[in-house]
Structures are given as structure tokens and as C-alpha cells.
């Protein structure tokens, strides 16, 4: 859906950092994306392949790590990981309360990149 603008930013960030480091070619870009994001890895790569043509990032592979969804209980303040499919259905594993707030799981980060 919105893979295109996100992918454009990934490319821009990568190219910006490449400029300062005399990079001939970007081989791999490591990304950390929250498990709550609906972005599809395959589509990010496809858009990236298209957008990066003719740049030093052409043919670079995107290595995507999904960071877990973490919720915090409003009852006992315990934090715990929740699978995407269980969201809206789980209770606190500590005190069984159902008022839960999102702590993390929506990050979008370019971690680092392997270059030649």
C-alpha cells in the first residue's frame, strides 16, 4: 500500500550516507521494522529495485528484521510481547487485566549497510 514512499525514504537515507563514505556500491541494507507494520518485505524489495536503478544502491538486498510488538498492562505495569494475530484478544499474563497500551512494534529504522 504505502511501500513506495517508505521505500523512497530508505533509498534516500542510504544514498545520503553512501555519499559521505566514498561508496562504490551498496551491497546490503539492514532494516528494523516493527511487527505491527503491514508492509510486505517482498514489495519493499521490489519497489527498491525499481527506485534504485542507476544509483550505487542498484542490486542492493534489503535485510529486514521485524521487532516484536510489546504491550504494557495498565493494571500491573508489566510489559510483554504479543503476536500480531493475538492483538485485541490477549489479557495481561500477570494479572489478567485487559487494559493494555502499545509500547513498541511500529518502528521503521535503517540500522546499517554493507558497502564496497
Amino acid at each position: 500500500m504505502h511501500e513506495l514512499p517508505i521505500t523512497k525514504r530508505i533509498l534516500d537515507i542510504a544514498l545520503e550516507h553512501a555519499r559521505g563514505h566514498k561508496v562504490a556500491r551498496i551491497v546490503r541494507i539492514h532494516l528494523k521494522i516493527g511487527a505491527l507494520s503491514d508492509l510486505e518485505n517482498e514489495w519493499i524489495q521490489r519497489y527498491f529495485d525499481y527506485l534504485s536503478r542507476g544509483t550505487v544502491a542498484e542490486n542492493a538486498r534489503l535485510a529486514i528484521t521485524r521487532s516484536p510488538i510489546v504491550m504494557r498492562c495498565r493494571g500491573c505495569a508489566r510489559s510483554f510481547e504479543v503476536a500480531r494475530e493475538e492483538l485485541g484478544q490477549v489479557r495481561c499474563p500477570g494479572c489478567s487485566a485487559s487494559r493494555l497500551e502499545l509500547v513498541s512494534g511500529r518502528e521503521y529504522l535503517v540500522e546499517n549497510m554493507e558497502v564496497l
Partner: protein, 224 residues
């Protein structure tokens, strides 16, 4: 060749650019004392009709503007403009959401000094708009009864980023198996602070309570 591979540390948030623009926009809104509301929902949940009904109640008490986002058409902006309220059409040209710079561009066409509240009608979509900060002060989403009570399970992110949930088309409740209690239970497990109003933009049911919330939040922001 592999020995020549170097690792460059980047550690940059992909959305940082948009968030900067959103923060700048909020600073400008604080100066002009304009309360910006981002309204999101699936297509057909009743965004435009809810806006029109809300304007009916509040237009004599607050000065409104509306920013209409649509992929191609101008139908919604025309419906709003027909009431005499300033409406700006933003054609997103295929984009599935609005970001802060698109909103800033749209707001440039409005005289913010002369407006108390601007409502953004975001693109009809429960996925993408949830990912992009528009620069709004509050996020409001609509879930309409015919869509079903399982939407919090399918689109959890939208429910976690919204300050208010409007359950629209409650006049259909008798005709459907929509379980309000089950829906509320699912929502509280994603966002315990979300305010829920049950409304019908068609019959006007519940609009007063929702409008009272909006007026209260807008005045608090304007008078701050």
C-alpha cells in the same frame, strides 16, 4: 572482493523526516490557534456525512475549514463547499494516505488565522493513514456497523493511534450481528485511552456528545 565490504552505521528512523514536518506544522497551528483534526476510516464509513453533521451542530460556535483528501475525485469537497464552509481538495494522485507535507500544502490554501478548527478527511483506508503523522492535534477514526466488530483485530494499528473512535451507523445495529460489547473489549486491549462515541450521522443520534468532545478539545487548544 568480500574483504572490501565495510559496514556503515546509519541508525536513522525512516519516518523522521515526516515527523519533523509534522512537528513544525503543530508549532504553526499553536501560533494561529487552529485545532487540526485528522479523521480516518475505511471507504464508505461515513466520513463526509459525519463532518457535515458535526458542522451543522458547531458551525455557529467555531470557525471551520475542511481539507478533503481523495485519490482522484472532488465529490467530497463539493459536498462540504455547498454548505458555505471553506473546503480544500487535495488530490493525492494515487497515494493511499496523507503525510504532513501534503497537509501543510493544503493548509496553505486556507486562512488559518481566521479558522478555529480544520478537519482533515483522510483517504478512505484503515492501513496506510495510521502510519503517517499528519501534524494533526488529535486523530479520530470511524468504524461503521456494517464493517463488522472484528475490525480492531484486522487493523490494530489504526486503533492504537486514534484518540477517538466514532462507531457510526448505529441505526443499523438492529439489522446486524455487530457486537458492541465485544468490539469495545477488543479496542481497550489495544488502546485503553481511546474515547468511544456511538453515532449515526444519518439520524443525528449521538452527534451532540461527539460534538461536545470536539468543541471542548478545540477550545482547550485555542485558549492554551
Amino acid at each position: 572482493m568480500n574483504d572490501a565490504v565495510r559496514l556503515i552505521d546509519v541508525k536513522e528512523a525512516i519516518q523522521a523526516d515526516n515527523e519533523r514536518v509534522a512537528e513544525d506544522l503543530r508549532a504553526r497551528l499553536a501560533e494561529t490557534r487552529t485545532f487540526l483534526l485528522n479523521l480516518m476510516s475505511a471507504p464508505g464509513a461515513g466520513k463526509t456525512r459525519t463532518i457535515l453533521k458535526t458542522l451543522e451542530v458547531l458551525r455557529d460556535r467555531l470557525r471551520f475549514g475542511v481539507l478533503e483528501a481523495d485519490i482522484e475525485s472532488t465529490v467530497d469537497a463539493e459536498r462540504v463547499a455547498a454548505t458555505g464552509i471553506s473546503a480544500v481538495q487535495l488530490r493525492t494522485g494515487g497515494f493511499c494516505h496523507l503525510d504532513a507535507s501534503m497537509v501543510a500544502k493544503g493548509l496553505a490554501a486556507l486562512d488559518l488565522e481566521a479558522l478555529d478548527v480544520v478537519i482533515i478527511e483522510n483517504v478512505g483506508n484503515l492501513v496506510c493513514p495510521a502510519e503517517f503523522d499528519t501534524g494533526a492535534i488529535k486523530n479520530v477514526m470511524i468504524l461503521s456497523v456494517p464493517e463488522g466488530d472484528d475490525k480492531p483485530l484486522k487493523y490494530p494499528l489504526m486503533f492504537t493511534v486514534s484518540d477517538v473512535l466514532l462507531v457510526n451507523k448505529v441505526d443499523y445495529l438492529g439489522l446486524s450481528d455487530f457486537d458492541l460489547a465485544a468490539m469495545r473489549e477488543r479496542v481497550v486491549r489495544l488502546n485503553p485511552d481511546i474515547q468511544i462515541f456511538e453515532i449515526s450521522a444519518k439520524t443525528g443520534q449521538g452527534i451532540d456528545q461527539w460534538a461536545a468532545w470536539l468543541e471542548g478539545e478545540a477550545r482547550r487548544f485555542i485558549d492554551a
